[in-house]
């Protein structure tokens, strides 16, 4: 939807928040271009980040299919992501204890099939129950899977992880050798001097094999994201998607209409889990190394932030959320390197607390990131529980948008899947 609209070039057709989001993305792009041009941000690393953004977008799509469409609280995102990553890595990695050297395409299929099977196994006991049980049980089962991967060294290499994973296109006719055959481009460093005023440097990097490989990866994730987006949009507007939205809004109603809600929930759960595993497969061939750390629960909650910040049920929102998560993850790391370790200005003694707090916050960016993640969750739930880009036009067939869109959007404002049971 957004692509079509932006294609028609009507900024005035956007809501104020949409303009804000466009502004945010524009600002971020400017910042990145500034980094690229001045040589502060290597092009290869930039493409790697872009690949990670795409990965988070894909993960958010998967969670959206479960939580956004159907209202299923899945706290095992990291588990399905990890299953996808290990599924392909175990088949293709050099030091895989059970296989190795098998084509990543086979790994892709195996990863997705295993994820679907695990989703069914987790879904059977939990999807019939109240949705908060699913939250607890899915987090618990994700931990079981993490502990298994960590301890079954004979099959998974344990905490050492899997190394030497080939790139996704290895062995393909043209794409497999693409990074090697491409020429190495050297962009010379340019120094501009305005006498007496400023002196600045531009460019100054080499585009070698790593760059072309990264470019290939970004192309791959772009294709995966586009295909998944179109597929999910199609199924979401179908009668099947309507049933899911009904379940989210009022499960009893869906039952009363004669729908087998358990079966629909299972389909939605499996669909979302497979999309998450797809992101995991991509990650394994992007990072070329996987370890049990990829199963850590914090990875699940990065994806949750992307979805609730972007707008539950909105895939446009999920794309935005993917950008924000990478901005948090990499931005805090970047700031940690950039900021001086202690305050540059001397503080009076009365404010020594400010000084020591600053030093602590800058010195511990892993903790600061966790703090930022937690505060962001609280603030979004407090001030904008529907997210920044709640689903609006997404739910309407493209041909039907001539009519004014009323405010009574299904699933627009409601975050609670249980119809607000809260007592006051």
């Amino acid at each position: 939807v957004s692509v079509g609209e932006r294609g028609s070039g009507v900024l005035s057709g956007l809501t104020p928040t949409e303009r804000g989001v466009v502004g945010f993305i524009g600002l971020l792009s400017l910042l990145l271009i500034y980094g690229l041009v001045t040589g502060g941000l290597g092009p290869t690393y930039f493409l790697y980040l872009l690949g990670l953004v795409g990965m988070y977008v894909l993960l958010s799509f998967g969670l959206n299919a479960q939580w956004g469409y159907t209202g299923l609280i899945n706290f095992s995102v990291a588990a399905f992501f990890g299953i996808g990553a290990y599924g392909t890595a175990l088949l293709s990695a050099d030091n895989s204890p059970i296989a190795g050297g098998i084509s990543p395409v086979v790994g892709l299929i195996v990863g997705l099939v295993v994820a679907a099977a695990v989703a069914v196994v987790i879904g059977i006991p939990t999807l019939r129950l109240r949705t908060d049980y699913l939250a607890i049980a899915s987090l618990g089962l994700a931990e079981v899977i993490r502990i298994l991967v960590l301890n079954q060294r004979a099959y998974t290499n344990g905490s050492a992880g899997l190394r030497g994973i080939p790139s996704f296109f290895e062995g393909w006719p043209v794409l497999g050798t693409f990074p090697e055959v491409m020429p190495t481009l050297v962009v010379e460093r340019l120094v501009f001097t305005i006498p007496g005023l400023v002196e600045f440097e531009l460019f100054g990097f080499t585009l070698g094999q790593g760059f072309w490989q990264a470019l290939l990866n970004v192309t791959l994730i772009a294709v995966l994201v586009a295909v998944t987006y179109l597929f999910l949009r199609r199924v979401h507007t179908s009668p099947w998607g309507r049933v899911l939205r009904t379940i989210r809004a009022d499960e009893d109603l869906a039952e009363a209409l004669g729908k087998n809600t358990y079966s629909f929930k299972m389909q939605s759960f499996v669909l979302g889990s497979v999309v998450m595993a797809l992101a995991g497969v991509f990650y394994a061939h992007l990072n070329l190394f996987v370890s049990p750390g990829d199963f850590e629960p914090i990875n699940t909650f990065y994806v949750w932030i992307a979805v609730i910040l972007g707008g539950s049920g909105s895939n446009r929102g999920a794309m935005f959320g993917g950008f924000v998560v990478i901005a948090i993850r990499e931005g805090t790391r970047f700031l940690g390197d950039l900021l001086p370790a202690s305050l540059p200005v001397a503080m009076p003694d009365a404010l020594s607390l400010v000084e020591s707090t600053y030093a602590t916050v800058v010195g511990n960016f892993a903790s600061t990131r966790l703090l930022a993640v937690g505060l962001l969750i609280i603030l979004v739930m407090r001030f904008r529980p529907e997210g920044v880009l709640p689903p609006q036009r997404e739910l309407i067939w493209p041909g039907a948008t001539d009519e004014p869109v009323g405010s009574a959007e299904p699933g627009g404002r409601s975050v609670s899947a249980d119809g607000g049971e809260r007592d006051e």
């Binding site: 059977i124 908060d132 607890i136 931990e143 892993a366 903790s367 993640v373 505060l375 969750i377 609280i378």
Partner: protein
Amino acid sequence: VSVLEYVANGLVFSSIIVLASIGLSLVYSIANFANFAHGDTMTVGAYASLVVFGLVGGLGGSVLGLPYGFFVALVVGIVVAAVVAVVTQKLVYEPLDIGSIGLLITSIGVAFVYRALIQLGFGADTEEYGIQVLRPIEALLPYGIRMTLHEVAIIVSAAILVAGLHALLQYTDLGRKMRAMADNPDLARVSGIRTDRVRLWTWVIGAGLAGAGGGFLGLYSQLSPRMGFNILLVVFAAVILGGIGSVYGAMLGGLLIGMIDQMTPLLGDVGIPIGTEYSYAIAFVIMVAVLLVRPNGIAGEAGS
């Protein structure tokens, strides 16, 4: 190692789980959401005790091998955990109008904030109270039980707290109001119970017990910023096993889960190759099995 030894270890671990699961269950039934910040509330209590114990550590004599200062620190830890929970309720949960699922998601944010602040303040490494480790009690050794006085102290303290809670729920006005609210919040409200006030007291009691559990967990093993989050799922398993919202079910569930957790080595003894690294995993699997067979738990009311 005898079976009795496992039972003794199980009792100690159960005491900690019971304290935590009662609090979680109380909040679940009265504030009406699954509080994922409960584990980190335990961490808050443990670290508050650590700070206070550092200040008053050498205080007076000792009881059950623990200096008086430890009990002072424990009480402060309980108070700090309760205050933090009440402040969180007032600042974060009360202004929200998003239903129980929204509260659940928010509580994850709260959990991260607690943990991040503790990490910023104390670093990510493990800490200890620094109380001298005792030798096992001589009198129990002939029975094959290796148990220190500290572990006895944990069991006794937990038993006192649980008995106190039982008395509070059964024989005081506040307890009756809490039971009424857990039963039927609307009916409690129209009967003239000030539900907001009862809800605050629930947070005080639930978080206070969690703070005590955290303090004992720190004494039992070590303190680390992740200690509460790591044990949270075991506590959830206990609550689900007992039946969500039932305080007495939570006690029973906590006892069983704690026991099962410490019995894991028995599996190896009888030839099933499942090591202790899977003890938490076993608790989760039991939880899922309970959900499958009896979703309302052992003591939960039928239908939901």
